[in-house]
Point group: C2
């Protein structure tokens, strides 16, 4: 009844050799009906549970996929993890979830751990310039897939969102609402989504003929506090914006608090559009307008992609569309320009 039941114990109880027991349990057809029955019974009675490590050691397949997200506490990544996990489960793979905590050093630690655990594949929302263990990964030939973000110079399949399109949707919407001064709270340039959204914002502003004022552009680090700092800076400029666009949900929340502390109200005094459609953004007062991509779908796609690579099927990168969910945070009377 102990957990130390090995296949030998099962074999002995069934009166067969370990080889035969293994064949029965792995569904090898070269087994007699009698052996099948007795081995299965013995396994059930003893509560046999194969040792995944021994199995993986011999058969060079661990049936585990490492998933390294940048920040578990960011609901967007939690959703990605959830989607990936469900997809893995459906293919009877196990997901090992690890958290880089927006920190390159910690990212390296977990990549190292994945490598020594000999996972069959790795999904990562990478950060940094691609130094450290990312290069080691490439050398180790472990199947790798990028999700949400990419790193230049890596020929790796990825699942990303159409950031340029998302930004364009947001800016077009705000422009249509009559805004001409939009403050942008961007992400770090060390992350691909940070760069893509930044560039797309500049382009969209130009395209719609809005005010191109460098004072309207700020950059945070995708964490909450930086959104507050950025919003405060934007609102205390000489000529503050009438609308804000935040490049991720955590910074949007930070901005929310900063705006409130300045005594201004989202929706009526100031429009706000955020990236990432977090579940509860629709429950707030006022509900937030967002540029959304389905994080769960992102995760599912990424998992399917890495399984494709692992199992030798062709794998193509995917770019998912973004869409605009208009809520009240951007449709109170627009402050006149």
């Amino acid at each position: 009844m102990d957990s130390t039941v090995t296949i030998k114990d099962v074999a002995e109880r069934a009166g067969v050799s370990a080889g035969t027991a293994s064949r029965v349990l792995s569904g090898n057809p070269a087994t007699s009906a009698a052996a099948r029955e007795r081995v299965r019974a013995a396994a059930a009675e003893l509560g046999y549970r194969p040792d995944a490590r021994a199995r993986a050691l011999r058969s060079a397949r661990s049936h585990a996929v490492g998933l390294l997200v940048s920040d578990v506490r960011n609901p967007f990544f939690a959703d990605i993890a959830h989607g990936a996990e469900q997809a893995a489960l459906a293919a009877s793979y196990v997901t090992l979830l690890a958290n880089a905590n927006e920190d390159t050093a910690q990212q390296d630690i977990y990549l190292e751990a994945f490598l020594t655990q000999r996972v069959d594949g790795i999904i990562i929302a990478p950060q940094g310039e691609g130094g450290g263990n990312l290069r080691a990964l490439e050398r180790a030939r472990t199947p790798l897939v990028f999700v949400d973000r990419t790193v230049e110079g890596f020929d790796v399949p990825s699942v990303t969102a159409d950031n340029a399109q998302g930004v364009e949707l947001a800016v077009a919407h705000l422009a249509a609402e009559g805004h001409t001064r939009i403050g942008y709270i961007g992400g770090p340039r060390s992350v691909s989504t940070g760069r893509a959204r930044h560039d797309a914002f500049l382009a969209a502003v130009a395209r719609h003929g809005l005010e191109e004022d460098p004072e309207l552009i700020t950059a945070g680090d995708f964490r909450r506090a930086s959104g507050g700092t950025a919003a405060t800076a934007l609102l205390s400029g000489r000529k503050p914006p009438t609308a804000l666009l935040a490049a991720d949900s955590l910074m949007a929340v930070g901005a929310l608090g900063a705006v409130r502390r300045q005594g201004r109200r989202i929706g009526s005094d100031l429009a706000l559009v955020a990236f990432d459609n977090i579940d509860w953004f629709g429950e707030l007062a006022p509900p937030l307008t967002v540029v959304a991509h389905d994080a769960r779908e992102l995760g599912e796609h990424a998992m399917r992609l890495v399984l494709d690579v692992i199992e030798g099927r062709p794998a193509e990168s995917v770019v998912l569309p973004m869409h605009l969910v208009v809520r009240e945070s951007s449709t109170g009377r627009a402050a006149g320009a």
Copy 2:
């Protein structure tokens, strides 16, 4: 340069046997300075990365701890995971994070996976009555620790919060603000925290001489939607409450939306106190009053506890205190009783 560098390759390059190479790399003192130097050089040159599975197989220690949370998308559990992970890292253990998704079947799947992976220990925020693989775990003698929640009939160390105290703090605060009709949005009775908070609420209401009306008591499932349903029901009763107490953060968010859709405002029209101090609760308009326990600390404690059990040190259950963080959601003028 491939990842298939074994200790034999290292040994060969260094001109020693595999045994000696192993001794050098594991810091065994019975090695000569010459061997140490050459083995280390060879390992570095070849990019040797020991195979964790082979190592674990032989030495019966995987240096991995399984962490099974009820719902990764609940920020409270994401914080627990984060705390546990950091504590594990400090002790050079790896955390395998899995998500039960508030589903007993999925909980069993991952417990099974942990067992076959032969993790050294498991931390779980359990759900259900303790059937299924929870019993198998006990038999397998895998070190086990409960976090946040417990299951009756298991003699397992745990890290929990003082729920009774938390509820009492919340009710006392609301009573002091002049409320006599408090609506309670509780959790499921199948979860220990759901039961504890429910019972504590009844006791606190009685103790403070508030109205004991069964219509004021509702129960959700710790998910967002159920909080909205419960709040709607409470507010459309014959004599609606003037304050709400929600037993977790997701249900509080659901309630937030329901209240807004009813055209009432948190803070001025209706007080709200929530369990769990989610980062961004302080940023909302109005900021939410919460009964808080430090989720990260909960996770850290749980990890330390399970490592104590694994390494044979005595392990004592811990009950962490809760405290009240008063913000504006409960201090607008109290609606008169």
